[in-house]
């Protein structure tokens, strides 16, 4: 007689063991449960749970004797079965297979292997992701422009930028070797804002690629930043349409940011009017949110809402609390950049200073202004 007798009576279950996929109540995701097992069977197989209940990606092809691994997970022995909760949540759109193999129990009536294939459907929504903004927003950009910021309306998928973003020449054809092939795509944490750098090797005067190929853009030329609709968002959908931004190229800007040329329009006391700064040349959109702060007369930084407009030449702070009278100061970080990478202290690639020159300046620049009951035009300093 085959099989192993575990109890006085050999149990042949009236209800066959089965596999179900059930939601995980304690969080997101799903798990697999083998049920309808009698307590005797459960006891017999408990220590072999990992070989009895296996879950795997259904389409992974084996290329050799060493087949693809099963999915790791946690096993729970239940009164009438075994439950498997995967370490990695089941991915939508991927077919999985759960295998219940009770042969190790050696009991008659439990011949065969039960398999259940399942798939969590991927929700298909119409493509509605677009490029919402590109900075710099102006349409005349200098020859030594360092970077673009491309903002998308939804989180995006990594890995598609190189093949779908290009600079086109006046003939509409891609200009080769203009954009930097970054070793890692430069996304922000939400993956809605991508930094696209022009090739620093071509921008830096005298460096190998610059000597071989020249600057990336030519002054006087007309170019287009093109983002193909094939770029995928985080849900795998392409963009709704292609995006193009055309621009003309003016001559290079190779000076430090001239803070002394800024215009400061201070607010009056008692209100929450914005403090307004205007710059003669566009500054870097992202750096404008971090690189300029306002200190109250007590020296503490003021909080409020920052608005940037007019082609990134105007910065306004609308404070949370009304302005107090007194001497305030605008603090400009030494790392603030313009759209060519120039900072308040040095141009992007500035003249070489021998090692013995004065140490690099890194202090925050201060632009004082007074808040008075009457608006007074104050020039920056």
């Amino acid at each position: 007689m085959t099989g192993q007798i575990l109890a006085d009576r050999v149990e042949v279950p009236a209800i066959q063991p089965a596999l179900v996929i059930e939601p995980n109540p304690s969080g997101a995701g799903w798990r697999v449960r083998a049920h309808n097992l009698s307590p005797a069977i459960v006891a017999a197989v408990a220590e072999y749970a990992q070989s009895v209940l296996r879950v795997q990606v259904a389409e992974a092809e084996g290329l050799d004797d060493e087949g693809p691994p099963d999915m790791p997970g946690d096993y729970e022995i239940l009164g009438d079965g075994i439950r498997f909760t995967p370490q990695f949540p089941f991915e939508q759109g991927v077919p999985f297979r759960a295998i219940l193999d009770l042969r190790v129990a050696g009991l008659p009536g439990l011949a065969g292997v039960r398999t259940r294939e399942f798939l969590l459907p991927r929700e298909v929504r119409a493509a509605d992701t677009t490029v919402s903004q590109v900075f710099p927003s102006g349409d005349v950009l200098p020859e030594n422009l360092l970077r673009f910021y491309v903002r998308f309306s939804n989180p995006m998928r990594r890995g598609w930028a190189e093949d779908h973003i290009a600079i086109l020449g006046p003939d509409g054809r891609p200009v080769p070797d203009v954009l930097y092939r970054a070793p890692i795509e430069l996304w922000d944490r939400s993956m809605t804002c991508l930094t696209v750098l022009l090739d620093p090797g071509r921008l830096k005067r005298g460096v190998g690629p610059n000597r071989m190929l020249g600057a990336p853009l030519e002054a006087g030329g007309r170019y287009t930043l093109a983002i193909a609709s094939g770029m995928l968002d985080a849900c795998g959908r392409p963009l709704q349409r292609d995006f193009k931004k055309s621009f003309c190229v003016s001559k290079a800007v190779r000076q430090p940011i001239a803070i002394e040329e800024w215009t400061v329009a201070p607010p009056t006391t008692g209100g929450c009017d914005p403090l307004e700064l205007t710059f003669p040349r566009p500054l870097d959109w992202a750096e404008l949110y971090h690189g300029i702060a306002v200190a109250s007369p007590t020296g503490l930084p003021m909080s409020g809402r920052i608005d940037i407009d007019m082609g990134e030449t105007r910065w306004r702070l609308t404070p949370d609390a009304p302005w107090q009278a007194g001497a305030h100061a605008i603090r400009v970080a030494p790392a603030l950049e313009d759209i060519c990478g120039n900072t308040p202290y040095a141009p992007f690639d500035g003249p070489f200073r021998p090692a013995e020159a004065a140490p690099r300046q890194t202090a925050t620049r201060l632009v004082p202004f007074a808040v008075t009951p009457i608006t007074v035009l104050a020039a920056g300093q």
Binding site: G62, L63, F88, L120, P121, D188, T195, V207, A286, S303
Partner: protein, 434 residues
């Protein structure tokens, strides 16, 4: 072999649909569908226990006593995991190949398909970020991420005699050092563009972890030196790296790959900049708050990205060499002795690739490995794409120092009766093992 599953006799509210032999989607209750799609839209996924404190898994390096350092861009930190004996398995006895006949072996075939199967997804949804070899056990570890969106699922996977095993980070003694973004002096904003420091390399040397990276905003060139054991921010030095050009210009230069190496007893940092020069710094110059210029001693060539930078000892001439694998072409190999003596870029003059500079021993090697690490003096491990299949990636071995495998190239030794001037047939049956 496969028996169609019996229909469930009880239809319970929480079970879904009926299975069949080929994939059939389940009819999901409205509320579950909503939950699943809300999860996908927000990008928030609960990370598995095995991920421990990681939120992403990037560049790795081993420190002393089996400490594994892992760069975590999403978590803005470098983690240190003190691996215990039970976390690793000695790979003694694993066959590496026939050294004299340039025959490596496949350690894992279809690595990407198998990693994806382990992580519950398909091969196109995972990325392998780095590979390291544990010095004592010779076990290969991989940092892998599932997903390409804002919320990836990270994992460290070990290769154990051809099988893949998940390293369970939950429970491994752990410390971390936060990689600080610049202090925010500006007003707090709800929608401010978020700064990310994309860690490009992590290396350990003599009690310190060296971290290089690129910012998504400032064109910054920050290098961090963090004393290990991690004791807090005071133990971090921040160095800005500058690049002098022919004595005419100077500019900031993010570092993509780095290596610390002693030259005549003095430790130096060798680095590849984003604009492709190969540079050298004495470690003593890399002080907190300093703006340091590296000596440019070579150029990798336009449009290339360095993949791995490592040194090895040539088993034939017993000299040390630097190897930089490059994404668009084969690798560059330079004698370490030449790195030491190569003159820095002269003021006003061209980079010296002549016999006096790096040209003397610089060679291009036709290696097309996406990841590479040295396993022992005769063998390297590589991850490369199979030439015939678009997606299949294999983990295999490659002999040092020629990094040539007869399975890939035509060589007279491939014919049984071909000429054998170097006596390859004498070594026909020799197989190295770990």
């Amino acid at each position: 072999m496969n028996v169609p599953s019996a229909p469930a006799l009880h239809s319970r509210r929480e079970t879904l649909g009926l299975g069949a032999k080929s994939g059939v989607s389940l009819a999901l209750a409205e509320s579950f569908l909503g939950a699943a799609s809300a999860q996908a839209a927000s990008g928030e996924i609960k990370l598995p226990r095995s991920a421990g404190p990681l939120r992403s898994a990037g560049q790795m390096a081993f420190g002393p006593d089996s400490v594994l350092f892992v760069g975590d861009i999403t978590g803005a930190a470098v983690h240190a995991f003190a691996l215990r004996d039970k976390d690793l398995t000695p790979q003694t006895g694993v066959a590496l190949g026939n050294f004299h006949n340039f025959e490596g072996v496949d350690l894992v075939r279809g690595l990407d398909v198998k990693l994806a199967a382990l992580m519950g997804t398909t091969y196109d949804n995972i990325v392998i970020n780095d590979m390291v070899v544990h010095p004592a056990t010779k076990q290969v570890l991989l940092s892998v991420e599932r997903g390409h969106g804002p919320s990836v699922i990270p994992a460290i996977v070990k290769v154990n005699r051809g099988r893949l095993e998940l390293l369970n980070l939950d429970g491994i003694p752990h410390t971390k050092a936060a990689i600080q973004n610049e202090p925010a002096e500006s007003a707090r904003l709800e929608f401010e563009p978020q700064r990310v420091y994309a860690i490009t390399d992590v290396k350990y040397y003599n009690g310190e972890v060296f971290v290089t990276g690129i910012s998504n905003q400032r064109f910054a060139s920050t290098l961090y030196r963090i004393r290990y054991p991690f004791t807090g921010q005071k133990a971090t030095s921040t160095v800005e790296i500058w690049h002098p050009v022919h004595g005419e210009f100077e500019t900031r230069a993010p570092i993509i790959r780095e290596l610390v190496r002693e030259i005549r007893g003095e430790p130096h940092l060798f680095a590849v900049y984003g604009c492709t020069p190969l540079v050298r710094f004495p470690l003593a110059a890399l002080k907190d708050g300093a703006h340091v210029r590296g000596d440019t001693i070579g150029e990798l060539g336009y449009g290339s990205n360095p993949l791995d930078m490592l040194t090895f000892n040539n088993p034939f001439d017993h000299k040390d060499y630097l190897l930089v694998t490059i994404d668009v072409r084969g690798a560059s190999q330079i004698a370490v002795a030449d790195l030491e003596t190569a003159p820095a870029e002269q003021t006003g003059g061209p980079i010296d690739f002549g016999p006096g500079g790096l040209g003397r021993t610089q060679r291009n090697l036709p290696i097309r490995a996406e990841h590479m690490a040295i396993l022992n003096p005769r063998w390297a491990v590589v991850i490369w794409r199979h030439p015939k299949t678009a997606y299949r990636m294999d983990l295999g071995t490659l002999m040092v120092p020629y990094f040539f495998d007869r399975r890939l190239g035509m060589a007279e030794m491939n014919w049984p009766d071909g000429p054998d001037p170097f006596q390859y047939r004498e070594h026909r049956n020799e197989t190295d093992h770990i």
